[in-house]
Structures are given as structure tokens and as C-alpha cells.
């Protein structure tokens, strides 16, 4: 079981809800993924409109936990206010904390991230910080009160998969007891399996599913890959060897002359 802030979960996949071809495909993809946590955002409502109601009614119809995000925030102050508004609206202390530092790479501003994480943790939020794979930043986030970390493995929406497995291994090794979710950069189920084999507890993805040719099938594929990677991590994988080793016993081999 996956445990995040004392909540036990059987699924190891968190799914974003943006960019799907239609609401019905979103609904089917969520179901196919088996996810128990979906991410949502807060955006401006139009005067006289109820633009959020349709989407929100779909999410509410599902038996899933909601993880609101602070996507689009570029300062700690913006992120804190967005988190406070999300808590009032969604009635959850969970917040996916994003503080973007660069428009092109969507790289987190880790200094503002730590600042916001500290404020929010002090206010009782359970913070899921979107961060880089930097070890020291991870340490600061834990000091700030975070009990879960969500390092990227590549830039958001890039579909490049794990670019720096050395850094990810280092992060995993230094904080063996901290639940870590790979957030951002996954493109293929094999990427998901790879990071799960490294020992990460879960994956969070959106674009790779939503923009797939068949989002529902891809959601299912990512779910299977995350489970396969997790199982493999705990099954004792064979280390690579420099020489070939026959799998069939040599002893008892017939000799034909």
C-alpha cells in the first residue's frame, strides 16, 4: 500500500485532468487508470457563468481524492493564496505546490517553493511539492514540513522520461523513508516502470495520457507499468553483467562426435 500523509492507497498513479479530448474520455481515462488521486486547478469564473460546474460534477461523481494544484503561480505569495482558496473550496488540506520559476522550462523556483511550503505547512496544509531532483532542496522541503516529495524527472509535458537517473537514485537513497512521487516529464509507460524500479513510490502524470492517441488505453498502460516497476523494485532485480552467462545448465550436455 502507498501511504501519503497517513492516507493509505492501493493505486500508485496520480492523474491530471487537463487536456483530454472530451469530458467522457477524461472520465474513462480516470477509471481505466485505477487512480485514487486526481489533480485539479482553480481558475477564474466568468460573470454569469458556471463554467467549472460541469467538470467538477464529473470529478465529484468519482470515488477519488482531489489534489488541488497551484499551477501557474510564480511567487510564494500567489501560491499560498491559491492554496488557501483551494482549501476553502475543496475542503482538503492537500495541496500540490507549484511555484514556477521559468516560463520556458517550467522549472520550479525552488527558493520560493521552500518559502511557500513552510508557510503552508505551518497553516496545517499537507504539501505535495513539485520540485527538481536536487538533494539539498529536498532536504529544505522536508525541514519546511513536507512529508512527501514530488521531484520531476524531466520538464513538464516534455515526455522525455528520466533524464538524470543518477540524481534520482541519490535522492531515493538519501531519504529512504520519505514517500516520493515522480511528477512531470514522463512520456511512456517504460519511463514509469523505470522510475518505479528505482524505488519511487508513485507517478503523477497528465499530458502523456491526455495527449495519447487513445488516452483510455494509455491510462491503463501507465497503471500497469507503475505496478510492474514497483513489483520489480521489491523482487530483487538482476544486476547487469559484462559477460554472457548461459541460462541452460552446461553440465549434462550431450557430446556429439
Amino acid at each position: 500500500m502507498l501511504t501519503l500523509y497517513n492516507k493509505q492507497l492501493s493505486s500508485r498513479l496520480l492523474l491530471g485532468t487537463a487536456q483530454y479530448p472530451s469530458p467522457s474520455i477524461l472520465l474513462d481515462a480516470i477509471k481505466a487508470s485505477g487512480t485514487q488521486i486526481v489533480t485539479v486547478s482553480l481558475r477564474r469564473e466568468t460573470a454569469g457563468g458556471r463554467s467549472g460546474d460541469g467538470f467538477w460534477s464529473i470529478i465529484r461523481s468519482l470515488d477519488v481524492h482531489v489534489l488541488p494544484n497551484t499551477a501557474g503561480c510564480h511567487t510564494a505569495k500567489e501560491a499560498v493564496l491559491t492554496a488557501q482558496m483551494a482549501r476553502d473550496l475543496f475542503a482538503t488540506d492537500w495541496i500540490k505546490l507549484e511555484v514556477i520559476g521559468n516560463h520556458d522550462t517550467l522549472q520550479p523556483d525552488v527558493f520560493a517553493l521552500v518559502e511557500a511550503a513552510r508557510v503552508l505547512s505551518d497553516e496545517g496544509f499537507k504539501v505535495f511539492p513539485y520540485t527538481t531532483d536536487d538533494l539539498i532542496v529536498a532536504e529544505r522541503l522536508l525541514d519546511a514540513g513536507c512529508e512527501v516529495l514530488m521531484p520531476w524527472c524531466a520538464p513538464i509535458g516534455s515526455a522525455q522520461g528520466p533524464l538524470n537517473t543518477h540524481a534520482l537514485r541519490s535522492l531515493r537513497g538519501h531519504f529512504p523513508d520519505v514517500p516520493m512521487i515522480i511528477d512531470a516529464g514522463l512520456g511512456r509507460p517504460s519511463h514509469a516502470a523505470t522510475v518505479m524500479e528505482l524505488g519511487f513510490e508513485a507517478i503523477l502524470l497528465n499530458t502523456a495520457v491526455a495527449k495519447a492517441g487513445d488516452p483510455v488505453a494509455m491510462a491503463r498502460a501507465f497503471a500497469m507499468a507503475s505496478e510492474a516497476g514497483h513489483a520489480a523494485c521489491h523482487a530483487g532485480m538482476l544486476e547487469p553483467r559484462d559477460v554472457a552467462v548461459p541460462s541452460t545448465p552446461v553440465i549434462g550436455r550431450a557430446v556429439f562426435t
Partner: protein, 65 residues
């Protein structure tokens, strides 16, 4: 009174945040509000009195990653 609501100027007669939302027909049940970068909880909107020039944000759940 002139207010900025979700980045747009509005001339309104409402005195409270709750009244403003009724006047501008923000009818959805699922809304979060802030005035001048401070959270105003749903339960506090009726008592939240507005002043000329206030900046109001009214947000709703949307798709997100």
C-alpha cells in the same frame, strides 16, 4: 462603486462580496473568493464589505495537471 473583478472593471451597487456575487450572477455553488489578495471564505462573504477600487478574484474548479 467601481471594482476590479477577475481583472475586469465593474460598476456595481452591492456593498458586500456576497451582494456583488449576486449582482454579477456568479451563481455556481463551487466558488472560492479573495479580496485584495486575501482569502475570503465562503462563510465570510456576507460580512465582507467592499470599498471602491477593491480587486476581487472569484475562482472555480478547472482541469489541472
Amino acid at each position: 462603486m467601481k471594482l476590479i473583478v477577475n481583472g475586469e472593471p465593474h460598476q456595481v451597487s452591492a456593498q458586500s462580496l456576497d451582494g456583488l456575487m449576486i449582482e454579477l450572477e456568479f451563481e455556481g455553488e463551487w466558488l472560492a473568493t479573495a479580496v485584495n489578495n486575501e482569502l475570503v471564505r465562503a462563510a465570510e462573504r456576507r460580512e465582507c464589505l467592499l470599498q471602491d477600487g477593491d480587486r476581487i478574484e472569484i475562482l472555480t474548479p478547472k482541469q489541472g495537471g
